[in-house]
């Protein structure tokens, strides 16, 4: 159990956050419902049966003002309370703040109970306001609460980031400009003790004002000037105005432009999907420059500077007495804020800390030094004797399903909450009753997992034995079982490896256990040219079986050949083709091949019960298998691996049996013998693979290490930072693919190294010159001597002028003039892609 408090909470007017001190570092917890965000909007929404806190509550803030409450921090310590219509009760700012703290406790993903925290308060808070904050902490279930002033928290975040800097004595300003509020404080440190000396603030000034100004002063005049509107501003701003929805879109666009202007000198707002009063469709863009934005923001920023000046005058300080102005709050990302504050005040600004989370971070550092001084519970977890029985359908075609539950045990004062694991649904905190029922919205065509959590009044999790609720939506029905095997397409292996010439591999389309129906398109690049009318072909061979098997070991469930006769024009090597496979629930397979070059699309439906297996294809495959076996056998004998040779000899007998039987089959055979033989063939292929896999992997590993050394030298000699990064990215995966069960992964890595190395070489002057002089060795080989001559001249000139881009083009041009068999890189495969 931890001795220190460790948790720090920034309980902000508009946003809050929670962080924890762990072994010298601080972790800011992520908002579990807001991907990537670490803050929680400080807004509470009371529905009749539940409480919603955060951004969803903020959505309703202006529309349901009798039930949604924000900025209540401004009322802390007052006697004011808020009447909540939905529950017919009044809530104090303390109670509302407690709801925020409870929600923040839910950010702690480690599941530990948070029983004490440091909570930050503005420098302006008096004793009553401070005590009210403390009370909110206790109400949220804390046994101990320590308060810390926000500017001090920000300063601590800074001091801990730069431990090496001497901050024992000095004074600085903390400038906090958030979304809707502004605070500035003068901090003094004497002999290591930090104090707030003075402060100023404006509760109604922040970044949102700049967005509004942009809409008001720039976008509305632009629309009025260029399009026909009668009363645009009112129609935008009034809740019953016909352009009210557009107003929120414009605010959003303005905010995006503001963010963009932090990095650029101008931003473009796209105004589309709007019609004016004459029903003319508006599709235009509007540019705003940084200087235009700055002239809008100037007034607000100058107001903040005036407040600082007041502080300086009150404390008889010159700008040179201040070390720096520490910037906090999201709006200090705006470059103009930084520039203006520094320019006018002549005090250096300090942007060293994350302005969004600095206060929570500083609070956590402080919490890491504060010891808990209360009796701790023996167990961290709250256990209960509550029995939960949940009932729900495991599969569904509906958009939502009912979850029914029966809860036995003492449920007084308890709540429950249901969340969907993708973070797309949250029921909110609801009162627990002995029988519950809830409509759970389901994501289409997915497994939906929901978590059912029981919480006590302080939002602490009560341990129960409930498990994840899993409901499969859409694709699942009784007949539609998950796929029992991977579905793959056979493709060529064409790296520059002698070991792989003529070999193929599996390209996985649908993974085992995927729920049908499925559809997927993969674009492949042709590795050979198919001339119109020729007998050259592309083969589509759809296979069922593990993606890690050899293709010949998997079962072919769909096979088509496309010869040049089918194409309306020549299809060139390097062209892309799109191959779509579609599998229905009843396992009908459809292959769609689209060739952009000829704009032709071929569709073929395979019915697995009428599998198409040409006898000629079977014979070819058996023949290929036999050749492969012979090669493996002689290699095994050569390296005196008699154990493997013996296994392969056994397999050889089966292959001989296959050869003699498939030869006897007629091309029009209608019996199911060909299927039986195909089955045997697959098993044999797998046996050969198993018997020789170790050897293949060893050979490939050696080849990998050789190529790695080769590539490393090239990267070191001639590569840039990016090449270096790519190289180490491949080498970093080494442990994974070298221990992989399939040689393909090693082959792919070798391929990556080869292409990285050759990419660098083709940018290297020495290599380009060497390649050029080698090409000149046999000029008689070039197909077009005239063109070759002119290219050679250009090449020589390029060398003289050191124009290596040109020399590269010349080399490429000369290679293309070589006869096909001399173009090493022009290897083609069996499949065609």
């Amino acid at each position: 159990m931890e001795k220190m408090i460790n948790y720090g909470i920034d309980l902000g007017t508009t946003n809050s956050a929670i962080a924890k001190f762990v072994r010298g570092e601080v972790e800011v917890f992520k908002n579990p419902l807001e991907t990537g965000k670490e803050t929680l909007p400080s807004v509470v929404y009371y529905k009749k049966d539940k409480i919603i806190v955060g951004s969803r509550a903020r959505t309703y803030l202006e529309r349901d003002a009798k039930n949604v409450f924000g900025t209540f921090k401004r009322k802390m310590g007052s006697t004011e309370s808020f009447k909540v219509k939905n529950i017919d009760q009044s809530k104090t700012p303390i109670e509302l703040s407690a709801e925020i703290i409870k929600e923040l406790k839910g950010f702690v993903h480690t599941g530990e109970q948070v029983d004490a925290a440091v909570i930050t308060i503005p420098a302006s808070f008096d004793v009553i306001q401070s005590n009210a904050t403390k009370e909110a902490g206790y109400l949220a279930g804390f046994k101990q609460v320590i308060l810390l002033q926000e500017p001090i928290a920000a300063s601590l975040a800074y001091a801990n980031k730069h431990k090496e800097r001497d901050l024992m004595n000095g004074q600085w300003l903390v400038y906090d400009l958030g979304g809707g509020t502004f605070d500035v404080a003068l901090i003094k440190i004497k002999d290591g003790e930090m104090k707030v000396i003075d402060h100023e603030g404006d509760n109604f000034l922040g970044g949102a004002d700049f967005d509004n100004l942009m809409v008001e002063k720039m976008i509305i005049p632009f629309l009025n000037k260029n399009f026909k509107f009668n009363n645009l501003e009112d129609e935008l701003k009034s809740a019953i105005g016909k352009y009210n929805a557009l107003y929120y879109k414009l605010i959003w666009l303005a905010e995006q432009a503001k963010i963009s202007l932090s990095n650029r000198t101008s931003a473009e707002l796209e105004l589309t999907g709007i019609s004016d009063d004459d029903n003319e469709i508006i599709d235009t863009s509007f540019e705003i420059s940084r200087s235009e934005f700055e002239s809008l923001a100037k007034e607000g920023i100058d107001k903040t500077i005036e407040m600082i000046k007041k502080i300086l005058v009150r404390n008889s300080l010159k700008p040179s007495d201040i070390q720096f102005t520490l910037l906090v709050g999201g709006s200090t990302y705006i470059p103009y804020v930084r520039k203006r504050v520094e320019e006018i005040l002549q005090i250096p600004i300090n942007c060293d800390i994350d302005p969004i989370t600095a206060i929570a971070i500083g609070a956590a550092y402080f919490a890491g030094t504060k010891e808990k001084n209360f009796e701790q519970d023996k167990s961290d977890k709250i256990t209960s004797k509550i029995k939960v029985r949940l009932s729900y359908p495991k599969t569904s075609r509906e958009e939502e399903e009912i979850l029914a539950g029966r809860i036995d045990g003492n449920i007084d004062g308890l709540f429950y909450q249901i969340t969907r694991e993708d973070k797309g649904y949250d029921s909110g905190r609801k009162k627990l009753t002995s029988r519950i029922s809830e409509d759970l919205p389901l994501l289409k065509d997915s497994y939906n997992f929901f978590r059912f959590t029981i919480l006590d009044g302080h939002n602490n999790v009560v341990e129960t034995d409930t498990e994840l609720i899993g409901i499969a939506q859409g694709k699942f029905n009784v007949a539609g079982q998950p796929l029992p095997n991977d579905i793959c397409l056979e493709i060529d292996i064409i790296p520059d490896l002698d070991i792989s010439v003529g070999e193929t591999k599996n390209c996985m389309y649908f993974q085992k256990n995927t729920i049908l129906p499925q559809k997927r398109t993969i674009t492949q690049t042709l590795n050979k040219t198919i001339l119109k009318g020729s007998a050259d072909k592309i083969i589509i061979n759809v296979l069922e079986g593990s993606q890690y098997n050899l293709p010949e070991a998997n079962q072919s469930i769909g096979y088509i050949e496309f010869t040049g006769e089918k194409f309306s024009r020549d299809i060139l090597r390097g062209t892309e083709i799109e191959i779509t496979l579609e599998m229905s629930e009843s396992r009908d397979l459809k292959a769609i091949v689209y060739i952009p070059m000829s704009d032709q699309q071929f569709t073929k439906v395979f019915n697995p019960s009428q599998r198409h297996l040409p006898v000629s294809k079977l014979r070819d495959e058996v023949e290929t298998l036999n050749e492969k076996l012979e090669t493996e056998l002689s290699e095994a004998v050569e390296r005196e691996d008699y154990e493997t040779a013996e296994t392969l000899n056994e397999i050889k007998k089966k292959v001989n049996f296959l050869i003699s039987n498939t030869t006897k089959l007629t091309d029009n055979d209608v019996t199911d013998k060909k299927y039986q033989y195909e089955d045997i063939k697959r098993k044999i292929a797998q046996e050969i693979d198993n018997a020789t896999r170790d050897k293949r992997i060893t050979t490939l590993k050696n080849s990998y290490f050789e190529n790695k050394e080769w590539c490393k030298k090239i990267v070191e000699d001639n590569g840039n930072d990016h090449d270096n990064k790519l190289f180490y990215e491949i080498a970093g995966r080494e442990q994974v693919f070298l221990n992989s069960i399939t040689p393909i992964k090693i082959m792919e890595a070798i391929d990556e190294l080869l292409s990285l190395g050759s990419d660098i070489l083709w940018r290297t002057p020495a290599f380009l010159e060497g390649r050029f002089s080698r090409l000149l060795e046999k000029p008689q080989l070039f197909n077009d001597l005239e063109q070759a001559k002119s290219l050679i001249e250009s090449g020589k000139l390029a060398i003289t002028n050191k124009n290596y881009d040109r020399l590269r083009e010349v080399n490429m041009g000369l290679i293309s003039l070589l006869p096909k068999n001399a173009q090493v890189e022009a290897r083609t495969g069996k499949i065609g892609f």
């Binding site: 797309g424 029921s427 497994y447 997992f449 398109t521 993969i522």
Partner: protein, 117 residues
């Protein structure tokens, strides 16, 4: 089980552009095959951009109901009423990362909602 995948920011940027492009193409009257290229890019993100078995997809929630339990959308309510809300404008789509048959939200939709009443 908490799974975290780092989605490169440029991917999200491109997917958001792709979404906008798809909206615009949908409004074109004349025959075109731009959708094919959009589908191709969508497909690339779904099947190839990330490591094996993972993919990025997006969903346009336009016309769907909105209520306070939806945590996949950030909504702004237009009009006076906050009852029986419908999504009438989508500025950014919901982006999911897929692992096999399960999904995880990596970007909430930015929407404007209005009462159907």
């Amino acid at each position: 089980m908490e799974t975290t995948v780092k989605i490169p920011k440029p991917y999200l940027f491109i997917i958001n552009q792709l979404f906008e492009l798809e909206q615009k193409v949908g409004k074109l009257q004349e025959q075109n095959s731009i959708q094919r290229n959009i589908d191709k890019m969508k497909n690339y993100f779904e099947t190839e951009a990330l490591s094996e078995g993972q993919g990025l997809t997006y969903h346009n929630p336009i016309g769907e109901s909105y209520d306070v339990t939806r945590t996949d959308c950030e909504a702004t309510i237009s009009g006076k009423s906050h009852e029986n809300l419908e999504i009438i404008e989508v500025l950014k789509p919901i982006i999911y990362v897929k692992y096999g048959n399960t999904k995880m939200i990596v970007q909430k939709a930015i929407t404007i909602v209005q009462s159907k009443n």
